[in-house]
């Protein structure tokens, strides 16, 4: 692999000849602290004003627990759907030629680009009882809008690009020779995919899954319109934070936020480990 950085770093002392490191690093750290780190630290500091019993009380109250269960549970399920459907989509986009392929490839990014409030009202009118998809589903006895199923649908929508865009470059770069080797050694196509291709995609698949999961857990805009927002049934954790804030129950809002933030940090850690794993296990040639 001949990529710029590794070549240029060759002479180790050379980098220091460029000016501006102290100034730009100082500005970077200052700005990062002002906009991101201090505000986030303020959130954690606020929870220390609570005793542990108070904190535990808030977090284990029925409504909070249910909201967390709904957010984490449905986000996990939606990320699983994205894992499976994302794999299928990425396979079709990379390996096959079919009419509209380029357009389908481009629109995978729509859930990234479309503002969440717009996605929220669009999905709601699509799946409402008289909507284009809601009406036929209602005839089958399936109600989507204003039920937990609606939350699930919105979370699938928001997670689509993650698996596709993390797996796509890996699948494109996959060496065709390993597939040919497997085939020439007598593996059938299914065995080749299952035993040879899939294992080399696993780090990317898991990364995509984790990113989709993290996004869905914290998602607000695209979910609240279609959710119904019934406490204990279809109320997501971010909405409960907003409700507590509007009731001026800052301690409650903060406690729920801290639980979600810690979960988000754990997911970042997992993703970083996965990236590290992916980089070290793929042979460099």
């Amino acid at each position: 692999m001949v990529r710029g950085s590794s070549v240029v770093t060759g002479g180790s002392g050379r980098r220091n000849t460029l000016p501006g490191f102290g100034l730009t690093m100082g500005l970077t750290l200052t700005w990062l602290s002002v906009i991101i780190l201090i505000p986030l630290a303020g959130l954690f500091l606020k929870t220390f004003e609570l005793s542990f019993a108070e904190f535990a009380n808030i977090v284990t109250s029925r409504r909070t627990l249910n909201a967390l269960k709904i957010s984490f549970g449905l986000a996990f399920a939606a990320a699983l759907v994205n894992l499976v459907m994302g794999s299928i989509v990425v396979w079709a986009l990379v390996r096959y030629r079919f009419p509209g392929r380029r357009i389908f490839d481009a629109i995978v990014d729509i859930p990234f680009a479309l503002p969440t409030a717009v996605a929220g009202i669009a999905l709601t009118s699509l799946f409402a009882q008289k909507g284009w998809l809601g009406a036929p589903l209602a005839e089958l006895g399936i109600k989507v809008a204003f039920t937990p199923l609606g939350i699930f649908i919105a979370m699938i929508f928001i997670g689509i690009p993650f698996v596709v865009r993390t797996v796509q470059p890996v699948l494109i770069d996959l060496d065709p020779e390993i597939e040919e080797a497997a085939a020439s050694l007598g593996a059938n196509r299914w065995q080749t995919i299952w035993r040879v291709i899939l294992p080399s995609l696993i780090p990317a698949l898991l990364t995509g899954f984790a990113l989709a999961f993290a996004r869905a857990v914290g998602e607000y805009g695209s979910v609240i319109f279609i959710a119904g927002n019934l406490p204990n049934v279809s109320e997501i954790a971010p909405l409960l934070i907003v409700i507590r804030l509007s009731e001026f129950r800052y301690a409650d809002a903060t406690a729920i936020a801290v639980v979600m933030l810690v979960a988000a940090f754990l997911i970042i850690l997992v993703v970083n480990r996965l990236q590290h794993w992916a980089q070290t296990r793929i042979p460099v040639h």
Binding site: T28, K46, G100, A117, L133, P176, L245
Partner: protein, 289 residues
């Protein structure tokens, strides 16, 4: 190409392909999934906005409330994108052009806002600047309004869009290395001259790419802004917030009319992104050879 090479190539295709039935099923599922989950939601925005015709659509957009929301959205995006552009360039210079311990940690910290729920991104500023917040009393005694006003909205938006520019630039500048800059400096150019005459021309597509994505998110941000805005009609409602209010009042045509502008922004962003990615790929190929 000799005959044997051709035979080998077609053999390659056969070995690396699935039975036609599997192919049809995979392509069919892909089209169905993306149509239901991506195409239809996009189409329905425009269909709903135009339910009562073009005149009603344009009238909804000409409402003073809609115009105020559009103006505020543009202003907030200009502030946030401007701040993050300057920061992104500075951070990318420090991170990409120099080696130092803790670089990975620093990049992780810059990326942090991507992992934080939008609602929490707003909440942190309520805890800082709200009436009961750390600086609330001080701000009140000095008559400075941050929350439920433009500064709060701009701050929350800046938080949410923080990583976009630096994230677009760091890998690009790392790939380009430091040889050209070192040559400029050794020929007597100052740091600022080197940056504007050597580095910036090399990364211009990357800068545009970062600004594009940053802007799309800034204009479309909902959760964080919703928490800090206070929803004062005609004053602190951005376009996404106005969409919510109109929709909750069952004013569907106006809601979808404003939403259609945001959807249009998303589409234009995607098209521009595709074009920029092509430029970035070309630059990469030139460097690799």
């Amino acid at each position: 190409m000799s005959e044997s090479a051709i035979a080998f190539d077609s053999g390659r295709v056969v070995v690396r392909s699935e039975p036609w039935l599997a192919r049809v099923v995979i392509i069919g599922l892909t089209m169905l999934f993306l149509t239901v989950f991506v195409v239809l939601p996009l189409v329905i925005v425009f269909a709903q906005a135009l339910t009562h015709g073009v005149v009603a659509y344009l009238a909804a957009l000409a409402e003073p409330e809609a115009l105020a929301a559009i103006k505020l959205t543009l202003a907030v995006a200009a502030i946030s994108v401007g701040l993050n552009l300057v920061f992104g360039l500075i951070a990318a210079w420090a991170i990409a052009k120099f080696e130092f311990p803790g670089k990975t940690l620093l990049i992780t910290l810059i990326d942090l806002p991507f992992s934080v729920s939008p609602v929490i991104s707003g909440l942190v500023f309520v805890l800082l600047f709200g009436a009961q917040g750390y600086f609330g009393a001080w701000l009140q005694s000095h008559n400075i309004q941050i929350l439920f006003a433009v500064p709060g909205i701009a701050l929350a938006t800046t938080f949410v869009t923080f990583p976009f520019v630096s994230r677009a630039l760091i890998p690009l500048m790392q790939e380009q290395g430091t040889l050209e800059e070192e040559a400029a400096v050794s020929l007597g150019a100052s740091g600022v001259q080197t940056f504007f005459r050597v580095t910036l021309p090399n990364i211009k597509w990357g800068v545009l790419y970062g600004v594009l994505l940053c802007n799309a998110r800034a204009m479309g941000e909902f959760g964080a802004v919703s928490v800090v805005s206070g929803h004062i009609r005609g004053e602190t409602n951005t376009m996404p917030l106005l969409v919510e209010i109109l929709y909750n009042e069952y004013q569907f045509v106006p809601a979808f009319a404003v939403a259609s502008l945001l959807a249009l922004l998303a589409l234009i962003t995607l098209i521009a992104k595709t074009i920029l990615e092509r430029h970035l790929d070309e630059g990469r190929q030139v460097r690799d050879h």
